[in-house]
């Protein structure tokens, strides 16, 4: 299973599976990295990721715009290479993906660097997303067991992303949990007259 790191809107996400990259809804301004690449590349240069790009953002043409993007990248010292990267990386970008699994030893030197980064975000994780677990348990017991259990699984997802320091995705799942709970409460209230009617008829 190839894993990707995405740098998007000034935040670094990863390791992510293809599905999780899809969830992130990156636009074409995002950068991508995976094991085997020397440096970050534009997300549009990785064939399987470019399909997931949702928003088109104007390609930074001038040098001024490029320097805006560079500080977001983790490896500042390599930043000057980025303008040259597209033509050079295109052929190599395709090959390493197929070789990700056999080339596992390659991961060892690269991963600790990135792992350390995600630890660093975890330490200052003052911006965690709420799990809404209290609501989810209340919904499970009082309202609607199936929807409530799904809400608890959503809460688990929220906390997984909180743990990885991936606040953007954590917030996304936190919101989904909240909406599911609201839906289950509304369903409970709306269905009540019908349920009373069934009792009367039975």
């Amino acid at each position: 299973m190839p894993q990707y790191w995405i740098n998007f809107e000034g935040r670094q996400h990863g390791p992510l599976s293809l599905d999780e990259v899809k969830e992130l809804k990156p636009d074409s301004s995002a950068y991508a990295w995976f094991t085997g690449l020397d440096n970050w590349v534009r997300i549009t240069q990785v064939p399987e990721l470019s399909e997931l790009v949702v928003g088109e953002v104007e390609e930074p043409q001038s040098a001024g715009e490029l320097t805006m993007a560079i500080p977001e990248l983790p490896t500042d010292d390599q930043a000057p290479e980025i303008p040259q990267a597209p033509p050079a990386l295109r052929p190599t970008a395709i090959e390493p993906i197929d070789r990700v699994n056999p080339a596992l030893p390659q991961e060892a030197p690269e991963l600790p660097k990135l792992k350390k980064r995600s630890d660093a975000t975890e330490v200052d994780a003052s911006a965690t997303a709420p799990s809404n677990l209290g609501w989810a348990i209340a919904a499970t017991i009082l309202c609607c067991l199936p929807l409530g259990v799904v809400a608890i699984f959503f809460a688990i997802k929220t906390m997984r992303y909180n743990r990885n320091g991936d606040t953007a995705l954590a917030l996304k799942w936190s919101d989904r949990t909240a909406w599911l709970i609201i839906a289950s409460i509304i369903f409970g209230i709306i269905s009540q007259p019908f349920r009373s009617l069934i009792t009367l008829l039975m």
């Binding site: 809404n132 609501w135 348990i137 259990v149 906390m159």
Partner: protein
């Protein structure tokens, strides 16, 4: 404190206060029972859900009869403090993120699901 948050807190307080007054004043097992919502699962399948008896349990709890509350639905008695704990934890999560991540460990959440489902099965098997 943002405006949204104030509205949220006031709204929740009003709803909780109204529920407390209603469940204190009226007994869901008594004369007013037809005004209280019934469990759809019990109505349709004849099997009790994990929350069946929680309205009577809450009424008993509010009127001070803990043993009756435990008899109606022990799960509710156990779960109310847990729910309140996670409400507070969600609000105060930024003060101690590490603690919040610890109490939000996926294994703990899975335990809650397993406990609720186990109670659900056992109460129908042993008819409690």
């Amino acid at each position: 404190m943002t405006r949204k948050r104030i509205i949220y807190i006031i709204g929740i307080t009003i709803i909780v206060a109204a529920m407390v007054v209603i469940y204190y004043s009226y007994d869901p097992a008594g004369e007013a029972s037809s005004f209280f919502p019934r469990c759809p699962m019990l109505q349709l399948t004849g099997y009790r859900c994990p929350g069946c008896g929680s309205q009577r349990a809450i009424h008993s709890l509010l009127t001070g009869d803990v043993s009756a509350a435990w008899h109606y639905n022990p799960l509710v008695i156990v779960v109310i403090p847990i729910i309140i704990f996670y409400f507070v934890a969600d609000r105060l999560r930024t003060r101690s993120p590490r603690f919040y991540l610890a109490i939000g460990h996926p294994a703990i959440f899975i335990t809650y699901i397993v406990a609720i489902v186990a109670w659900w099965i056992l109460r129908n098997v042993y008819d409690v």
